[in-house]
């Protein structure tokens, strides 16, 4: 169970290997990673601003809630901030559980709450200027699933 907020990149494979290292009680390991997407080719950078202090607190609360709701062996949330290039990793969550359903649901839950409850804001810097990314109504609605 860990939360990391950092500017530098992370090694998804190494993190997933570390989660299961030396254990035989995990049956299912799910990971989600979010990447900087640029369909149009117009994006120069995605800037991530966050609220130091509250970010770590909010992520730890979301993770604790997932751990309370599902039978998990372990979990991990890493979220980056600062300017990111197209194709770069923005964040990851991973959930390890004895059973598949718990691992999938908990990862999905972490993502839903992280999107709308962790204090990050994205700004797109493109060839035509910069603009803050709007929150999606869907994202807020998604919380009602849980």
């Amino acid at each position: 169970m860990a939360v990391r907020v950092q500017q530098h990149d992370f090694d998804l494979g190494a993190e997933l290997t570390a989660l299961r290292a030396g254990r035989t009680d995990i049956g299912a390991l799910v990971s989600f990673s979010g990447l900087v997407r640029d369909d149009s080719g117009d994006l120069e950078a995605l800037e991530l601003e966050h609220y130091p202090g509250m970010t770590e607190k909010a992520l730890a609360e979301i993770e604790a809630e997932a751990r309370a709701r599902w039978d998990l062996n372990d979990s991990l949330i890493i979220h980056r901030y600062g300017p990111l290039k197209p194709g770069e990793q923005i964040m990851m969550v991973a959930t390890a559980a004895p059973h598949r359903k718990a691992a999938f649901e908990a990862a999905d839950f972490l993502m839903d709450f992280l999107k709308s409850r962790a204090p990050f804001w994205k700004k797109e810097h493109g060839v035509a200027g910069a603009a803050w990314v709007d929150a999606k109504e869907d994202d807020e609605a998604a919380l009602k699933r849980w």
């Binding site: 979010g34 991530l48 601003e49 966050h50 609220y51 202090g53 509250m54 607190k57 909010a58 979220h79 923005i90 964040m91 993502m111 992280l114 999107k115 709308s116 409850r117 962790a118 204090p119 990050f120 804001w121 994205k122 700004k123 803050w132 990314v133 709007d134 929150a135 807020e140």
Partner: protein, 83 residues
């Protein structure tokens, strides 16, 4: 009382500073917002549509009706877009 007030994303850009100390007797977040809007146009602009602004009190999400009793840090920001 003295409050640390912090701003993020476009709220920060409109107000022009990331953080400031505010001397106020506002009882609630809504009172504080009203007071700030009366001070200068940049605040009035930033808070012109409060439905687009979220508030955290001492780093916990809150709401505009919440009292400021014992609060040390108030944060204003747009809906979050992490992940």
């Amino acid at each position: 009382m003295k409050l640390d007030v912090v701003y993020f994303a476009w709220v920060r850009e409109r107000i022009g500073v990331p953080r400031e100390t505010v001397e106020t007797e506002a009882a609630t977040v809504a009172d504080l917002v009203k007071e700030l809007r009366g001070r200068e146009e940049r605040y009035d602009l930033a808070f012109s549509d409060v439905s687009a602004v979220r508030v955290a009190l001492d780093q916990t999400l809150s709401h505009f009706d919440a009292p400021l009793t014992d609060v040390r840090e108030v944060a204003f920001f747009p809906p979050m877009t992490g992940g």
